[in-house]
Subunit: 364 residues, 4 copies
């Protein structure tokens, strides 16, 4: 049964109050595309540089145009900064992101950074002088399963993730940057979700994608699922990290996007996140609708309403937390058990028992 993985809504489970978008994915935000490269080779004892390899790269592309010429307004929030995400000071200063956002394992940040530079040069500077730009590359540590020190992500994997990026359905679980991760005592991975909201009468969407690798004790709809299941099979983990990417088509400023990124932590906490000492918790938010955009009269009206009273962003605050909470759950529901180096195993979430536990507590 564990091999049949589903998203939470496929088994009748849902969190929050706002409805998801068409794909219930970050790609519900118009121009956003997601691509993965997954590297799984070898088994048995760790031999640094050889394997076993359980890692990858995930690319989130804000829009298909030239991001250097048309960057997206962006911001971020770091809850616990035990990690590296590059490009943050440019976000502080200019309020924008000018490259795809990349996720990978901790020690391959350099490789991915370099590969994005090469990709951007090839794509955007064919007929003009190369100028400086600053890639955004985040990471979590997949070394429990993966030969982290082997640095197995190569330039071609980064190109693969970028070149294969598409809109629509997003593959989740043990894929891309989520290949070797573990979260809340189970196998983690990539997960996504979205919410449809209204600012005044105008429809917008917010989408979230996570690379779940964080510590804590799984909580669903307030039920301490992790604690209940722990009696049987899983150990408690405090540390770990999570990357959260938030996209919206609401026209927001850098300052407002900081506020949105912060709200994501409410969703993480509701899911049982521990925010431990060694956690790298980076929440990055961008808007596809601020710069270099002609706004429809609808969007203008919404922008006006926000300018007049930012309290009109309340639905977005709440929806961001909800989509974050659900993206994490989807990452766990879709990730299968994986054995990595030295016989280390991350167990896929036992979905049936989770559902039983929820029923026991009258929450399903």
């Amino acid at each position: 049964m564990i091999s049949k993985r589903v998203r939470i809504r496929e088994v009748g489970l849902a969190v929050g109050e706002y409805p998801p978008g068409k794909y219930n994915a970050i790609t519900d935000v118009d121009s956003v595309k997601v691509g993965h490269a997954t590297i799984i080779t070898g088994k048995g004892p760790l031999r640094v540089g050889v394997g076993p390899v359980r890692t990858g790269v995930t690319a989130i592309i804000p829009h298909p145009g030239c991001l250097i010429d048309d960057p997206v307004e962006a911001s971020y929030f770091v809850f616990n900064g035990a990690g590296t995400t590059t490009g943050l000071s440019l976000i502080d200063e200019f309020g924008l992101i000018e490259t795809p956002i990349m996720l990978t394992n901790t020690l391959n940040v350099g490789t991915v950074y370099d590969a994005v530079v090469r990709y951007m040069i090839r794509k955007n500077f064919r007929n003009r002088e190369v100028r400086w730009f600053n890639p955004v590359v985040g990471e979590t540590d997949d070394g429990y399963l993966n030969d982290l020190g082997g640095l197995h992500v190569k330039t071609e994997h980064v190109f693969d993730a970028l070149d294969s990026a598409t809109g629509g359905h997003v593959v989740e679980g043990n894929i891309g940057a989520g290949t070797g991760t573990g979260a809340l005592g189970f196998k983690g991975g990539i997960g996504t979700s979205s919410r449809r909201i209204r600012i005044g009468d105008v429809k917008f969407v917010v989408g979230v994608l996570v690379q779940s690798n964080h510590g804590g004790s799984l909580t669903i709809k307030g039920v301490p699922v992790g604690k209940e299941l722990r009696k049987e099979e899983i150990k408690r983990e405090v540390d770990g990290s999570i990357m959260v990417i938030i996209a919206t088509n609401i026209p927001l400023s850098n300052r407002q996007l900081t506020r949105i990124a912060k709200r994501s932590t409410l969703g993480l906490t509701r899911g049982g996140w521990a925010a431990g000492h060694g956690s790298g918790d980076y929440l990055i938010a961008f808007s596809t609708s601020f710069r270099g955009k002609e706004w429809s009269s609808d969007v203008k009206a919404a922008r006006e309403m926000i300018l007049k009273n930012e309290k009109s962003l309340t639905p977005l605050f709440r929806a961001t937390a909800e989509a974050t909470e659900e993206a994490v759950l989807n990452s766990l529901f879709k990730a299968t058990t994986m054995e990595g180096r030295d016989g280390h195993v991350r167990v896929g979430l036992p979905i049936e028992r989770v559902l039983q536990t929820l029923k026991k507590f009258h929450r399903l």
Copy 2:
């Protein structure tokens, strides 16, 4: 005459009130070592990927031991964040730096990051499991002279810089990460300086190393040298960036090091720095004497005095600004004229005329 380059004190020029250390260099701080790798090839028109190449890498190693086991207490200040320095969020969270600090060109940050990862694994994880860590890599844009898009810094250059690092005398000017840079309208480069100070009765030292590539108009001892010389040969530049690395052996906390890093901007301003829109101004400060150290009774006494009244850091505030100001000047005085891609030229500071100008204004 331009080929004979000197440090400012060799021509009787000095800034500030505190005396420099033995080498008047960041290496006056006990365990600190500096290494460079310099890449100069080709001339003529730019052919991306071929050259001309005018770039390099500079490594600042806080101490020769295992930085992962014995990190140095650290902090930083970003004045204008138009650039990338990796590892800053870990400094915020843990207050430390756990790798050498690397400087290079803007688009080679990924390569250098990756190479430092390899270096650290090789050096520190031979007989134990590789764990995550976060290199600190900063940069400025040397694309006016250098084939920036050609990404000419390779792993072996990074190893060279690290392996060749030494204490004592530091080579300045067109070397390492300063090979292709320009500052204040002239050829920039690597520069360094130090100051000896006392906290109570205890002697300490603060050292600064810069990769000067910043915009503005050269000012020396209050004299608008750049403006005076501009009439003849140089054009006014607003943008550009500067990396400033500050080391001290005073036992300071992360919060206190933030304060020190900020004071560095006073030295930059006195030198004519413009802090323009596109400037990446990163000031990183670390102490070799906080963690994992047995303190002498002298150092304990100084620490006690600082704890009782932080105003006792006043000499350090002033000395940091002075050493920054002088490090920039040394970078200009030592850098020779360089021709790079497409016939672009950065002119070495015309030292004699500078001295004449200072005399004209009664400042020498």
Copy 3:
């Protein structure tokens, strides 16, 4: 029954895993004292400047000595900054608090600031020259019940709160700065809780005091109590604010206390906090054991352990969130229904129904 108010543990309810201190209050941290002044006069329609008045002041005194000579190491975290807490920039710069921490209503911050200045001058500068210092005064808006614009807190109320401060048992609910507040749809107020933890073998304590006035939907042990009860009598509220004061006797630096303050938000979120647009969420943390203290060998050992690996703070991270969660619950459990201006009513939490709801979901 509503008139019989109890703390949560008196009805067999508890949150978290660590044991509370003797008083289960912020005063379990050795030298900390708490005092209140409560102002309740009038009823009926609002007449600005006349009443009805439902407001007050709460004072948290870190230690009974001269705080200007012996300040406490401190830090803070602002989640949503829609409010005012004075003195924060000094905390950033010097890492300390040098006055009692005061809580009151939004528009009386000035009065309380001024009164603390007078109190400090009288107490600390009788025989020496007055020097500058910076009071820490926080607030939330009690204007739904209180004549906020009437500015009814006077200097003598502030003196009363300060002069009556004691250790030991802390009165909770509709008292002091919590007199007129409302939280999560019910009557809010002052609440407190503490946790005993160990760093290595050394026993420490962390205590939290809240002025609960925040929006959201009450959640207890994961059960959406607010949502369940809302069907009957309460309306949903998004906005509001909360002040959280965290004290510990663990020797921590300013940077470490920032980390502790952040963890408090996990407790708030578990309790149903919405962190809405207009929320003023200020979390202030201080240590009674950093400056001007002779440390016992035990404390030295703990400090050494923390310095070696900050992960040893994990119990403190978790305990802070737990104590925050419980302090909020105590504030609600102890606050009785109050009618204020214009017939506005904040209903005291219906404790029996809460317990029934928890039983229904198998969480009691």
Copy 4:
């Protein structure tokens, strides 16, 4: 001669390259008004509560309308936070200021805060319910001349400053919040200056007002005037504080205003500011042209240009530094010698000798 005080341009002195506005004052920014209340009584030995009194209040009113309904976009930068400015967290969160900006002495912040609350209630809430808002009150310490502990600023002084505020000519020197201050070894006070700039083809203005009370050594046009004069009569001071208020009519966001505020420190540094340990250096910037404004087509064009490339703000960066530098000089040039408590004297800048010194160094 000292009794004849002039602004720097009246004696042929000027700093910077951009032209000043009509009044060379912060009031050159359309709607901005400035008002003062000055309190000077008594002489001789200090008797706390009696005098001598040398203090006051200065009000900067961004526009004459209801600031609560129509706040101004705002931001700030704290270089050294040894002081108190209230209302900063609201600026972080909402990016705005919703009251006049008030300056006073350190220990009267509470009184002034309270009085502004009363003023705002009276002015803006006559016919509607009072809601919360957050005054911005800054300060420096005038205790060398003034009976600081006597808390001599009263509510009526604050009302006087607010009610007497006007556009046009701004009185400088020993007035309002500058009555008792000292800067760079001389008598400080209120000073102001402005610059006219163009963004594209559109004319704008930036104005600065300072309450100068900062430490350092006076520098004018690069000449170490303080050091030269010190030989004779003044002592060196490291500490002190400065409040800098920056206004512009360029439509800027909170993030952009942060950048502007930072540039002000370049002007301070050029003037000899030490940024010492105990300095409270607060730089607050606001735009009268962001919110609730109909923009002319000219302003829209400028806004578009800034949005496309923020480098078009370069003139504003430079002009802000220039106006800050000149505002400080005006504060010194206009302030006369003042004797305060205990025979303490702050000497008015000896203008003739300053001019002679500048001539000696060929800078006049």
